[in-house]
């Protein structure tokens, strides 16, 4: 139960961070991505603030063998830089630029009752399901 509570609280805290930072406003996200227009560099401060805090925590976490509850540390195991990683990330970035939503802010805006966030999240889930279907049919061909 303490696990579930901590996960819930961290999820809510992350949502507060997104709301306060401006990341949940697609117009602001697109304003950040529009370097050639009148540029709003605010979101660079979001990334800067987040990394400034997290970089120390990850340095500590790397030296630990167990989490706070005594469970195993689940580090990502993939290390290969391949076509999947780059093309997938490019597709993600294109979608991010088109609408101004990335996954976390889209979920927060969905819960806040933003109508287009609902369509975005449904489409995103369809995209994730498509990935699973393609993976199972074709395997990792690229």
């Amino acid at each position: 139960m303490k696990h579930r509570l901590s996960e819930f609280v961290v999820g809510a805290l992350f949502g507060f961070g997104l709301l306060i930072s401006g990341m949940t406003n697609p117009a602001k996200v697109v304003g950040f991505l529009d370097i050639a227009g009148t540029w709003d560099p605010s979101l660079a401060f979001v990334m800067g603030g987040a990394i400034a805090v997290a970089i120390g925590a990850f340095a500590i976490a790397k030296r630990r063998t167990k989490d706070f509850f005594g469970g195993d540390m689940r580090w990502p195991t993939a290390t290969r830089i391949d076509t999947r990683l780059v093309l997938g990330s490019i597709a993600f970035g294109a979608g991010w630029g088109l609408a101004g939503f990335c996954p976390g802010p889209a979920l927060v805006s969905l819960a806040a009752g933003v109508p287009k966030a609902f369509l975005f999240v449904v489409s995103m889930l369809v995209g994730m399901a498509l990935f699973e279907i393609i993976e199972r049919r074709l395997g990792k061909q690229f």
């Binding site: 961070g17 709301l19 490019i90 993600f92 294109a94 609408a99 995103m124 369809v126």
Partner: protein, 145 residues
């Protein structure tokens, strides 16, 4: 380069960023996991015993955040300029792209860069570049706006 001083909000951006970093720090230290939204959702498509409840608990927390936040202050604006078809296409690209790319702004951008992962650096550079180019193409090449 022209800066949009009217929209520029460095204080709240920094404060929000610090909270995002704090949440990511707590998640790895307390729960031993990377806080990556697309990965947390994506794992639900491959349900394995003992690997579902934590995802649901986290996502419920995230979904509760605007409701809790709204109890003590008004929610910030969320203005979507893209039309409905574009939003639909964008969602598809984000869904399939984050799964092939194995992460999004949180997992690669915050956690990955903070743990100095070369893979996440390449992913972050790729999606940032694609984001900048997409907005450039839409706003300055397509003749829109």
């Amino acid at each position: 380069m022209n800066l949009d001083w009217n929209s520029f909000t460095p204080e709240s951006a920094l404060a929000g960023g610090v909270i995002l970093g704090l949440a990511s720090a707590l998640f790895i230290l307390i729960n031993g996991r990377i806080l990556g939204i697309s990965g947390i959702i994506g794992g639900l498509f491959r349900p394995r015993a003992g690997d579902i409840a934590w995802r649901i608990a986290f996502l419920l927390g995230l979904l509760s955040s605007p409701i809790i936040f709204g109890l003590w202050t008004t929610l910030p604006d969320a203005r979507v300029d893209a039309d409905w078809p574009t939003v639909g296409i964008a969602g598809l690209l984000v869904g399939i792209g984050t799964r092939y790319g194995a992460g999004c702004t949180s997992g690669h951008g915050v956690c990955g860069l903070s743990r100095l992962s070369p893979r996440s650096m390449i992913a972050t550079l790729s999606f940032m570049a694609a984001g900048f180019l997409t907005v450039y193409a839409l706003r300055h090449l397509a003749g829109a706006a």
